[in-house]
């Protein structure tokens, strides 16, 4: 593939297979994510969506296939075999299905952890607060203030994370993920458990993440209305395999997708 063509992609997943013992979680999954698009992965429960996310972020290591991440600058990165924190630093950030905030820290600190540079050792700098440390602190504080404003949590900055409402936690998680300055953000059911008005807020927030922050969004979501209104393209997973790919309109009309969602039998869906 030529360099020019590939640069238009952020992620290229080729034929990955992920097994746990005898259980196949993902089977020959291929997927392409274009730079700066809002892409959604849908599918029934247990279809392997979260496994796919975990594979893309280095939490799981698929046994077969390749996953390539193309940053806007610099060399491409082969995801499989890399540790999750390396992937995160390379520009792939994520949120979790059940929000996993640091509940003992304040809202501000939660985002600050993401904004801080965890590359060096930082031991001496933390002890002797020299000009460099102070400058770094100032920079990360500014990032945090900016992001909290972006997600609308400025007034809650000093609350403990566990005191936030469900929607607030979702937004905080997005802010924390953005703090690492990602090129792609993976959102695992960002609207789960939120009420309708929070859902609307989240929808517009996700769109703003892409439009204002220029971060590509890969989304898993159960709420079809939200997915169809947000996503520009969709992949449908069922029993660990991709059964369809296309625009929201195409997916809506796809017979195998309808079958999968209507809960037809295993044989039908996987064939």
């Amino acid at each position: 593939m030529s360099e020019v063509a590939t640069r238009s992609l952020s992620f290229e997943v080729k034929d990955i297979t992920l097994r746990f013992g005898g259980v196949v979680s993902l089977r020959d999954v291929s997927l392409e994510m274009r730079r700066g698009e809002i892409l959604a992965v849908i599918g029934p429960n247990g279809a392997g969506k979260t496994s796919l996310f975990n594979s893309l972020t280095g939490v799981y290591q698929p046994q077969e296939g390749t996953i390539t991440f193309w940053p806007s600058e610099g060399a491409s990165i082969s995801v499989i075999g890399k540790k999750a924190h390396r992937i995160a630093r390379a520009g792939v950030s994520r949120t979790f299905q059940a929000s996993r905030l640091f509940s003992a820290l304040t809202v501000f600190e939660n985002v600050k952890i993401g904004a801080e540079d965890h590359n060096g050792l930082g031991l001496v700098g933390s002890l002797v607060k020299g000009p460099r440390t102070r400058h770094a602190e100032k920079v990360s504080d500014e990032v945090v203030v900016d992001l909290l404003e972006f997600v609308g949590l400025s007034n809650e900055a000093n609350l403990v994370a566990s005191q936030l409402s469900y929607g607030g936690r979702r937004r905080l998680e997005i802010a924390r993920a953005l703090a690492t300055k990602p090129e792609v953000i993976l959102l695992d059911e960002p609207a789960a458990g939120t009420n309708p008005s929070e859902k609307l807020e989240l929808t517009s927030l996700i769109r703003r993440v892409r439009d204002e922050r220029h971060v590509g969004v890969l989304l898993i979501e159960h709420d079809m209305k939200l997915v169809m209104s947000l996503a520009e393209r969709l992949y449908v997973l069922n029993f660990g395999s991709v059964i369809a790919e296309g625009s929201p309109e195409e997916i809506r009309a796809n017979q195998s997708v309808i079958d999968a969602y209507l809960g037809s039998s295993h044989e039908d869906a996987s064939n």
Partner: protein
């Protein structure tokens, strides 16, 4: 000279007394296997290393010892009397240990579980329970010195001679009793309704409870089963070595090593692991530098550390129920 000589002399000793080492190894291995099963079962159900399990074993040992003492006094049992005493001792040891195990569960774990406490809290509480039981036993029954039971068998009684080695009755009894108990435990877990509950909770507690398994009573049964095995093991162990207030620490760690080796959560693995550790220790005795028996401990702990670092799922593999 030096190292080469050390190895050669070690192998010479093994060669000279192979069957003796095998006997001792199997005898200890049987005990380790029975304790290891308790670690493995509780880990399966609660995802928790029961640090106090060694003390559960120790309590069974004391109970069995006192029972035989009370019945025998200064006499020596013979023939069917011995067999009856061994069975009685294992039952009493098992009952007392099961009771202690339930006590530990109710006092040290259940309140924390109900509060959904972090795992660190369980570990600390378990260490507390272990200290408490160990020291209480020491306070009541004395520290340091072993308490030997009245002779259930004439001391050093030889059952038969095999390959020129005299096999002790106690060793034979230990191995047979352990095999019976372990097979029974395996059957219970694999083939009964109780066992189905245990396996279901081990795989996925949430789904199990949705499907009508009573989690609390399953936990209780697991502790009873593990405790009973450990108690019986305690009695068998004390037949040979007597029992010490702190026996649980050392033997407990050996048995835990066995459970890890067999893949914690895996019942058969734990039993095999126990056997392996017993044999390994026995055969490592001739390879102790300057005849220092501490080396067998060092070797065993090295196995523990290396298995955990290199292959924490154990040789036979962790039960993969928790994966997806």
């Amino acid at each position: 000279m030096g190292f080469e000589h050390f190895w050669l002399s070690g192998f010479d000793q093994v060669h000279a007394a192979f069957w003796r080492y095998l006997e001792v190894g199997l005898q200890n291995g049987a005990v380790y296997a029975m304790i290891a099963v308790g670690y493995t079962l509780v880990y399966g159900v609660l995802g928790l290393i029961n640090f106090a399990h060694g003390e559960v074993f120790m309590c069974g040992g004391f109970a069995g010892v006192f029972l035989t003492r009370g019945i025998l006094g200064d006499r020596v049992a013979t023939g069917w009397g011995s067999v009856g005493l061994v069975i009685a001792g294992m039952i009493i040891g098992g009952l007392v240990s099961a009771a202690v195990a339930i006590g530990v569960e109710r006092v040290a774990y259940k309140p924390l579980r109900q509060r959904n406490a972090p795992k660190l809290a369980f570990l600390i509480s378990a260490i507390g329970a272990s200290y408490f039981l160990q020291t209480l036993a020491g306070k009541e029954f004395g520290y340091g010195v072993n308490i030997f039971p009245g002779a259930v068998f004439e001391p050093g009684k030889v059952m038969f001679t095999m390959f020129g080695t005299q096999i002790d009755t106690i060793a034979v009894v230990c191995v047979i009793a352990a095999v019976v108990m372990l097979v029974a435990a395996d059957r219970i877990v694999r083939a009964t309704k109780l066992g189905r509950g245990i396996r279901a909770v081990s795989q996925d507690a949430e789904t199990a409870s949705l499907m009508g398994v009573n989690i609390e009573s399953t936990i209780m049964i697991t502790f009873i089963l593990g405790g009973a095995l450990a108690g019986a093991a305690g009695f068998l162990y004390s037949l040979n070595s007597g029992i010490v207030q702190n026996a649980g620490t050392e033997i407990g760690i050996y048995a835990f090593t066995a459970a890890v080796l067999g893949g914690i959560g895996n019942l058969r693995g734990a039993a095999l692991g126990g056997l392996f550790i017993g044999l390994f220790q026995s055969f490592s005795v001739p390879f102790s530098f300057e005849g220092n028996v501490q080396w067998t401990e060092i070797y065993t702990f090295l196995i523990l550390v290396l298995v955990l670092i290199i292959r924490p799922t154990g040789i036979l593999g962790e039960k993969s129920g928790r994966t997806a």
